[in-house]
Symmetry: D2
Subunit: 137 residues, 4 copies
Amino acid sequence: MDPVETRVRVRYAETDQMGVVYHANYLVWMEVGRVEYWRASGLRYRDMELEDGVLLVVAEVNCRYLSPAVYDEEVIVRTSIAEATSRMIRFEYELIGVEDGRRMATGYTKHVFCGRDRKPARLPQKYHLALGIGAFK
Amino acid sequence: MDPVETRVRVRYAETDQMGVVYHANYLVWMEVGRVEYWRASGLRYRDMELEDGVLLVVAEVNCRYLSPAVYDEEVIVRTSIAEATSRMIRFEYELIGVEDGRRMATGYTKHVFCGRDRKPARLPQKYHLALGIGAFK
Amino acid sequence: MDPVETRVRVRYAETDQMGVVYHANYLVWMEVGRVEYWRASGLRYRDMELEDGVLLVVAEVNCRYLSPAVYDEEVIVRTSIAEATSRMIRFEYELIGVEDGRRMATGYTKHVFCGRDRKPARLPQKYHLALGIGAFK
Amino acid sequence: MDPVETRVRVRYAETDQMGVVYHANYLVWMEVGRVEYWRASGLRYRDMELEDGVLLVVAEVNCRYLSPAVYDEEVIVRTSIAEATSRMIRFEYELIGVEDGRRMATGYTKHVFCGRDRKPARLPQKYHLALGIGAFK
């Protein structure tokens, strides 16, 4: 599937006294991007969690900061799946300023599929097609 | 019971681009104060929630901001119970700078005791004494 | 001016272990509503702060919680000005679920206009009309 | 210098609906660890920023999640410097549960020294000794 683009607007709460967005908040935007990727794939993460007890537990995050986002700026979160199996999934992200197209950050997150008990579990078959599982070799 | 004092140190993450602590974070410090009030009363909020399924659902918050807290400053959260019944509890807070004793903020939070289903429920009798319930008329 | 409506979608980061939105995050949404009220009035809060050195310092917040917002739910933030002078402004908010129209919370925030030195200052005349100052008696 | 250990206690605000700490909050704890490393080195990050206009701009973060922290648990943040020059510094972190000694996460953050204009700048000589600059070859 093509990358999915979502927009967030920088909140005052997300800035710090350096006058730019506090670095941990980029991870929250990646989460927003991930959920919208899900939705664009015809899935709703909330339902997966509630109905099938599938949790997407974060195993690793990485973010490189290139140019800081500032208050009230709109940011595109471009999300794609870099790797997916029935056990894990890795998302990649690019954060881009809407007004000037500059790259603000790049990063990835790795997740392990778990059951309600937070123990690793295989992703149910019915989700494989939507996430392109089988297509990654 | 006397007010209970806890200390927090301002984190960079808690500042905003005005160069002071973002106002919503004072509510988080009130929560820290509340939990330590609990502990000082011989209770552990975590256990109440896990073992007895008693949830303390926030019904109202109020905060007046007097003098902003700044990065790396230590803040005393002085917490007391203003009112308590088997149905609800109201905490009051004073936030005070450690170095200069200035009052940063005052506020209160009202909570309703609920069960695991988040429906209002009476607080089990065994907690009444520790919280002074019966002493507030 | 009529109330201004903005939408936010609940982020995973905004939930807590009670399974609903952590209460302090409602204040962040009120901030989002306030900024969009500004924009709907033809003003940009960022520019006021950067160009005219007008800061909107929070003096008081109040929030009553009626029905909790849950993950991935869309929330309308309905913002209006309850009172405004050249010295201060008070916003009122209603938070409403998009899907079922239920009221999640109501609240207000009071702000004092300050200069770059964070000392109280009169709001420049050019902003009065847009904010209806003079219309509140 | 030896690793510096700091403690944080998990706040309710830091949990999410999975019942554990939301992953982005580990980065905030790393920041707490970093500031205390600074203090243990006889430096105060706040003063460096205010007096010498030295900003520590985050260039990259990485975190691997091993075992989730839960509400009210105490966490040790063990911080060390892995690399430092007059241009940049890289901190490494281990997050460890106080009660059971389990490793919750490991990670690193890379920072570039910048001036007040947020442009890269050399760290003033007077800070080199405290940070062991010259000792990393």
